[in-house]
Subunit: 308 residues, 2 copies
């Protein structure tokens, strides 16, 4: 969607609940592009709160979650999908009138449902920035994380269009390209572009590390043959990913079924020595890479620019 | 192994059969580190020969494969695994005495067998540099491709130790770390660290592009959620990979079976909502990434350094 992005920040006081990779990246980015905005933060972990304090990520670091949201006109829950219901319940008594409650979770239907149940009267606009790295924690964030990446908003049908536009403006100012989508469609699309790839990567890295026939030392030494690419996303946060698979279970299992069907086709081609089937398949997949680079969703440099 | 690398180039005249990514990278690297060495080259494709001529990759670009190897003391076949037998047969009448014949293929037992059958009297030392990018062709090569990467030699048991040491010296001079390994073990290790990851990546990229429920446009737009990582290796050369899967069929199918077993374990955990099983698995896979970075086999920068 087009953002009506003026020079004024769309919010005055933003509360970030959760100060890991995403929360701390939002904080850093806000500091850069909306320096007048007041930032409040909270994290359930005292250790993370201490590290966030050293990093001076926010103007007010709250010791209680309720304290963080008092007076805020935007609250963003930057926490694992499975913690949304509890967090929403905790902030409920402290929210002011007209505040927008949003999140950054990778599964939108279950989060929207959890937030709606905990906050029946609130202005809820779920969001998902398609951005991240394999690292976690407040030190891992950086201001440019959202630049050129997509952020998907999944407002309910009767959501206030003005509130949606303000949140879109906020993400646009952080550098993201904003899209509005139905929550169920988001969950299906992300099952393909994110959840299934992570499940496959977690699996194969586990398979390789469990082998008796090949030592872990060999797997690591010769990982540049392709394996190392999978280890990056298999190094992502375990709690975050446990919650995503449980929350988006149906779409993930559906996509997994399709993947297994295709894998069986290629397995049979290898078994029977059907080189043509393999060649045709591999020729088609090559074109997808080019489209992703063309659309600016990955670097054009060979080998992700690693070996140049 | 330790290389007895002196200042003298271990060979006088090297013939590169195949001038794609690997052949042209060897040529460029030789120019940099062994400028006195005479380079001869050939490619079965007239188009590739013309492009190699424009790039001035070699001193003598042969129009016939036999012409390229005349007088060479090292011949390296830089061609798809399935073309090795034919190429070896074509060069057989033109090889001089004492020449070492090597290759760069990703499956070593079948290549060793093909070369031995075509060249029963030759000094054959198969090799495999664990290096590459998703790009192909003579323009894709670069001098630093082998720097810090492993190159595995799989000589027969009765191979001349001096010849093995010379080839090891050659690869060491190109910047590679050299290891000697049994061919069968190589094929098992590479099935895990390279072949299975490629098969999985080819499959999932195909799965995503065949979906009716999600458009290809959406898959591309939101690929930064993880999918794009898979598209890189699924953009690799289709002929090269067709040949590898057919050549290393048994080890690939064995590893695929193990992967499918593990995937079924995680699928069941998602289906039954067993969060602990998922959390434990994802926590283990995180450590492998750290070991690969520690061993210098990948960059430490988050997101492969793409988003910084």
């Amino acid at each position: 969607m087009t953002n009506n992005a003026g020079d004024e920040p769309p919010f005055q006081k933003v509360a970030l609940i959760g100060l890991g990779l995403i929360g701390s990246s939002i904080a850093r980015s806000v500091r850069e592009v909306m320096p007048g905005l007041e930032l409040r933060g909270y994290d359930a972990s005292a250790d993370v709160r201490n590290r966030a304090a050293s990093l001076e990520l926010v103007d007010l670091l709250a010791e209680e979650v309720g304290e963080a949201v008092v007076g805020a006109d935007l609250v963003i829950l930057c926490i694992p999908v499975g913690s949304m219901a509890d967090a929403a319940g905790s902030i409920a008594p402290h929210l002011g009138r007209g505040v927008i409650v949003s999140d950054v979770g990778s599964a939108k239907e279950p989060v929207a449902k959890a937030l709606r149940e905990a906050l029946p009267e609130a202005l809820i606009i779920p969001a998902h920035p398609i951005a991240g790295t394999e690292n976690s924690g407040p030190e891992a964030g950086f201001a440019g994380l959202f630049r050129g990446r997509w952020c998907i908003l999944t407002p309910e049908r009767d959501a206030d269009p003005d509130a949606v536009a303000r949140l879109a403006d906020f993400w646009g100012k952080l550098g993201a390209r904003v899209e509005v989508m139905d929550a169920a469609r988001h969950d299906l699309v992300l099952a393909v572009t994110s959840h299934l790839p992570h499940l496959i990567a977690f699996t194969i890295v586990g398979t390789a590390s469990h082998l008796e026939a090949v030592t872990e030392g060999e797997v690591i030494k010769y990982s540049a043959g392709g394996f190392r690419d999978f280890t990056r996303i298999a190094a992502s946060d375990p709690v975050m990913w446990r919650d995503i698979f449980l929350a988006n279970r149906e779409a993930v299992l559906d996509m997994l079924g399709r993947f297994l069907g295709d894998l069986s086709t290629l397995e049979q081609a290898i078994r029977k020595g059907e080189g043509d089937v393999l060649f045709d398949w591999f020729s088609r997949t090559r074109t997808i890479r080019r489209a992703i680079v063309y659309e600016g969703q990955d670097v054009a440099a060979p080998d992700f620019g690693r070996s140049s």
